[in-house]
């Protein structure tokens, strides 16, 4: 095997990696000119027939941008980039036909007959490798250390742009996903009967702001966001969707008993003691709606919203399930 694998492998948390990729909300999005620019530029600099931004999803690699091949995705088991994400530096294959790892790969023995590969991992700030920026050639090829560094730099630029997009979907104060992320999540899950939606609204929040000031109100929001994050299971997404409003999309175990989930949350919130508001009791009201098969997203939201309104109307600090 004459390829060189640089750097220590750093991927023993596939669950976290996949979660980081999901949070990026980029897979299956349309082609974007900004990434096309970069892959075309890299193609020109390397003089390579194929350059791609490849993201490694559960069972496939999906191309956010690809030059030189008319393909949207491949299965994960044949993806060279699936090897790149196991490294924190470049991964290269100088002649795939002589590399035991790839000699029998159908992308080497058949179309498009890949012979050489250089991939730079797309690494998040948290250290997860979501995919790779890769250069592919149909001839054997060697890559210098300087070329590897150059590709790593381009990969950093690509990742920076993806992080930028994600940062616009994060609420600055609470660090929870914001309404944009919430809407994306609802779009994905509408009409999925295994999902549930919870709207939560902090009771008398205006009074808290008026009495103790906005900085104290901010502390309340941050502390309750922490409570939310601690109670939500790994598949549940809690978002700040307005001033004192939160939207929680339940999946997995949490979604099986959404009312029980909301009750746990309600109780945990009412037990918070927050110094900045002199330990004044904070409560919240909840509306819960399980998704129905074939139900449009707006009707699902409307049912949860009406249930929340009912909780407010009936005295607050309570959970109401939608019909």
């Amino acid at each position: 095997m004459n390829d060189t694998h640089i750097g220590a492998p750093k991927t023993d948390d596939e669950f976290g990696r996949q979660r980081a990729l999901d949070a990026m909300n980029v897979v299956d999005t349309p082609k974007a000119p900004e990434f096309e620019r970069i892959t075309k530029l890299v193609q020109s600099i390397f003089g390579a027939p194929v350059v791609a931004v490849s993201l490694i999803d559960r069972r496939r690699q999906w191309f956010k941008s690809i030059q030189g091949l008319d393909v949207k995705e491949t299965t994960r088991d044949v993806a060279f980039c699936d090897h790149t994400i196991r490294h924190s530096q470049c991964f290269k294959v100088e002649d795939a036909t002589k590399d035991p790892l790839f000699a029998n790969n159908p992308l080497v023995t058949g179309e498009p007959f890949i012979r050489s590969y250089l991939g730079a991992p797309l690494k998040t700030e948290d250290g997860y490798m979501l995919g790779a920026l890769c250069v592919i050639d149909y001839e054997p090829r060697s890559f210098t250390k300087q070329q590897e560094q150059m590709l790593m730099s381009f990969a950093d630029v690509v990742m920076g742009e993806m992080e930028l997009r994600r940062s616009a979907a994060i609420d600055e104060l609470t660090r929870l996903p914001n309404r944009r992320a919430f809407n994306d999540c609802l779009l994905d899950l509408a009409a999925n009967p295994d999902a549930s939606l919870v709207f939560m609204d902090i009771d008398h929040f205006k009074k808290i702001n008026d009495t103790y000031g906005h900085p104290a109100g901010d502390v309340v929001l941050k502390q309750l966001a922490g409570v939310l994050a601690s109670i939500c299971g790994p598949e549940t997404i809690a978002c700040r969707i307005g001033g004192e409003e939160f939207g929680i999309v339940l999946r997995g175990k949490d979604a099986e008993q959404p009312v029980a989930f909301a009750e746990r949350l309600r109780k945990a919130i009412s037990e918070q003691a927050i110094d900045e508001i002199e330990k004044t009791k904070v409560t919240a009201s909840f509306g819960v709606a399980k998704a129905k098969a074939d139900e449009p997203m707006n009707e699902w939201q409307e049912r949860a919203d009406k249930a929340l309104y009912r909780s407010k109307h009936d005295g607050r600090d309570r959970v109401t399930a939608a019909s």
Binding site: A32, E34, Q146, M152, F154, D156, G160, I170
Partner: protein, 85 residues
């Protein structure tokens, strides 16, 4: 072409903000932009170290900045309007 990458990125930010009709840039976007300037400087150093000629280096800066500007505009246009204190 000078090599003040902070300045280049700030120009891209201002242009995108104007196009998005936004006057106050969110803090996290500003932080990301500063980080991007550092990445751009590193990229240029690595392009030169790899022997890429100056014309291509300049073209690369230009393309990467355009790419960033497009991404930033998308990000700014997608900012939620409902999250207010």
């Amino acid at each position: 072409m000078s090599e003040n990458f902070d300045e280049y990125v700030q120009e891209a930010v201002i242009k995108s903000m104007r196009n998005a009709g936004i006057s106050d840039i969110p803090e996290q976007v500003m932080e990301a932009s500063k980080a991007h300037a550092v990445k751009l400087a590193t990229l240029v150093a690595n392009l030169r170290a790899a022997g890429v000629d100056e014309q291509m280096v300049r073209h690369s800066i230009s393309e990467v900045l355009k790419s960033y500007e497009e991404e930033l505009l998308d990000a700014l246009l997608a900012l939620p309007k409902g999250v207010q204190k």
